[in-house]
Amino acid sequence: MEALQSNIAHIGKPTSRVDGKLKVTGRARYAAEYPAADLLHGVIVSATVPAGRITKLELDRARAVPGVVQIFTHENRGKAAWLDRKWRDEVAPPGHPFRPLHSDRILFDGQPIALVVADSFEAARDAASLVRAEYDIDDFCTELEVRRPEAYDPPEKRSGIPPPPEPRGDAEDAFDRAKHRISSEYRINAEHHNPMELFGTTCVFEGPGQLTIYEKTQGSQNSQGYVTSVFGLRSKNVRVINHYVGGAFGAALRPQQQLFFAVMASLELKRSVRVTLTRSQMFYIGYRPDTYHAIALAADNKGRLTSIMHDAVAATSHHEDYQEAVVNWSGMMYHCDNVKLSYALAKLNTATPCDMRAPGASVGVNAFECAIDELCHDVGIDPLEFRRINFASIDENTGKMLTSKALLECYQQGAAAIGWDRRPVKPRSLKDGRELVGLGMATGMWDAFLMKAAAEAKLTADGRLEVSTAASDIGTGTWTILAQIGADALGLPLEAITSRIGDSTLPASPVEGGSWTAASNGSAVMAACEAIKATLFKHARAMTNSPVAQAEYDDVVFAGGRIALKNDLARSLSFAEVMHAADLAEITETGKAAPSLLQMRKYISYTHSAVFAEVRVDEDLGVVRIPRIVCAAAAGRIINPKTARSQILGGVVMGIGMALHEEAMTDHRLGKIMNHSLAEYHVPAHADIADIEVIFVDETDEKVSPLGVKGLGEIGIVGTAAAVANAIFNATGRRVRDFPITLDKLLA
């Protein structure tokens, strides 16, 4: 970091994406876009019942379609691992991973039951539509409300997900004795990620047991590990590439169906195979589970919180115990001595849910921050003032200190930007024409993780630097920020840096998730560059008549492709001179990042935000418009304000979707999602999104990660739906506790 501070040219500057030109000209290739010789196309056939057994598969008409090469079903599935654990990927929850075509058993509607492989996409699609299945249907339930009484504490905890903290104080007693209290139940309906790119895999058959796989994934090495484990292949023979990923939002953390099918068919047929899911099939690869939140809060006359109780129930599948940290946030967002939290699962006949942008927090904080707004109304205190009064300066769940928390600045700057002082104190008291106007706000919070990651940096004598790590860029800006970090580390222009990511053969990286990539992979790249500098310096000192012969490392700077004395910048050596003298064509070094376990015993890190929304609600029709949202975030060092701002914008837009639009509608009599298309599952469109302002408040955090970076992928969604809901209450006096807040609920 020291070198950076004396030499910052790119970090902190709004930098256009280095992959921008490829993306606007259509030359960035996504998984299903790689050519391969004699390529076969696979189309998956999905089950149409939620539970039971396949009794008959009618394949003759499909086989008769010209161009069909093979149809795989559970009766002729290719060789794959038997043992459950062989199917577990890096981020799998406890339970039995789904094994496609493993048997005749149906676990969820939309489950793949066959793969039709043909020499053209059209033939495979047509033939797939001709496959007929008959079933023995078992009893099933897809309705969380029905299974809620049987909710249970998951016996095996999911790795990386902290269970709710032990109760502190006596929340029930404090609630009973309180002057002001509210008790409410919130429901947030299931959502689907729906990244724009259809899930696709192009598996190139390079020879027996040897594959190059172009795959839609948030982790090339996670997919690579899955393929070698499931199919018993040698690690060196399987390479997974994910240079460009057309959105994911968590849906591509775990290997999805199409990867299994493309690889299985490729190995069996000894041909290259491409399998792409349909939009409809993407509604069966994991989802944000429906949740119920029973929340009881109490405060004294001065607006000090005296009791917090939050009990959540979330859906999971029958085969896996998918878990999130849903209620934990309620125990640490504000200071409170009496806290009791619980989280339970209920099993449904659906696919296993999967992480979706800010898993846990986006629903838990949403419900909690709405309940806080209810309490503020009951106390008769301004919601912003209430949050300042109850500011928590440590993590009260663990008792650990925070490495930084510039949340008060977020409150102040966000309030100023939205014009919080014009908020009507009395709900439904401000009208503009036919519209009721209101303002609302919420706090947001997300983890600031540092994960283990490795990187390599290679400097060549022509002054070019290549930085590599098996990270992914799912739209987050990874390509760009790693180049910025490399440039500043060695004092080189951005054009001299090449990032290499999206390839399982590169140095080890976790999946891209949890908002940890910038901090983790960025710090690893930084460390590799520091190692190059040390090597350069060593060789520079050893040169005859070296101007730095007597210098210590701290006495020199690296700038403009040269090593110079800090005190006398004219005395310098070019990297090329140093490398030539040492007879080196290139210098390659590795670097690592990892959390400090010692520090973690005392400290913990979070990203914070304050979200402010203005809404306008048509009094007669219930139509909600959101003319303006402000999200003020405290996220440590911002490497690239341009791409960072986009991360927040995206989170806010998805939060608007949670507030107003997004909802999987299941017909529980059939156990089937009915709106499995983008026409009927509404995600926010251009017309829904007006003005969004993003503020990054200054926050210096030397402990959170070597770069001082916290990460931004999730924080934008957390609190947004609550800010909108609270603004709707302020505008209309109606408190809708069932998300999304559609106009029928407002008019009911």
Binding site: G20, G475, T643, S646, L649, V653, M654, S677
Partner: protein, 169 residues
């Protein structure tokens, strides 16, 4: 009379990005799959294959159209522009440059469709305000949520075009 089959080849001619293609195609091939699977023009994206997302937007005879809803043989003789055909050599179309400048994309998957749709919208000449841009771009979904930046990029190019038109007058 023999039964017509979806695999009976039909000869057609399409001009794509200025290049004439004489093709022999099965009638069940959509324009989108023709571009992506047969001609290697993968810039045009498949996001739903149902006309619901706009990722496959191309310009057919200057008008923006969802390529997934068009059977290629039904457009014999058409002049088609895809995202690959917007730049002139190394020089980006002003809207492509504005997308980079305004960071009007993240994952980049809806981007070719957004850009083709934006070019079509500007040629239609109906969008004069930001609200009109938002409304008339609503057939193009961006799940990364780059909408405000996309509107900024289009607004920027429209403003510069009208400024240069005024200067010319």
């Amino acid at each position: 009379m023999p039964q017509p089959s979806p695999t009976t080849m039909v000869p057609i001619v399409l001009t794509i990005n200025g290049v004439r293609h004489e093709l022999s195609l099965a009638p069940w091939v959509t324009l989108l799959d023709l571009l992506r699977e047969r001609l290697g023009l993968t810039g045009t994206k498949k996001g739903c294959d149902q006309g619901q997302c706009g990722a496959c937007t191309v310009l057919i005879d200057g008008r923006r159209v969802n390529a997934c809803l068009v059977l290629a043989v039904a457009r014999d003789g058409a002049d088609i522009t895809t995202v690959e055909g917007l730049a002139t050599g190394d020089e980006l179309h002003p809207l492509q440059a504005a997308f980079i400048e305004h960071d009007a994309f993240q994952c980049g998957y809806c981007t070719p469709g957004q850009i083709c749709s934006g070019v079509g919208l500007m040629q239609e000449g109906h969008a004069h305000t930001r609200e009109e841009i938002r409304e008339q771009m609503s057939g193009n979904i961006c799940r990364c949520g780059a909408y405000t930046n996309i509107a900024d990029a289009i607004e920027d190019v429209i403003a510069r075009q009208s400024a240069s038109r005024e200067a010319a007058e």
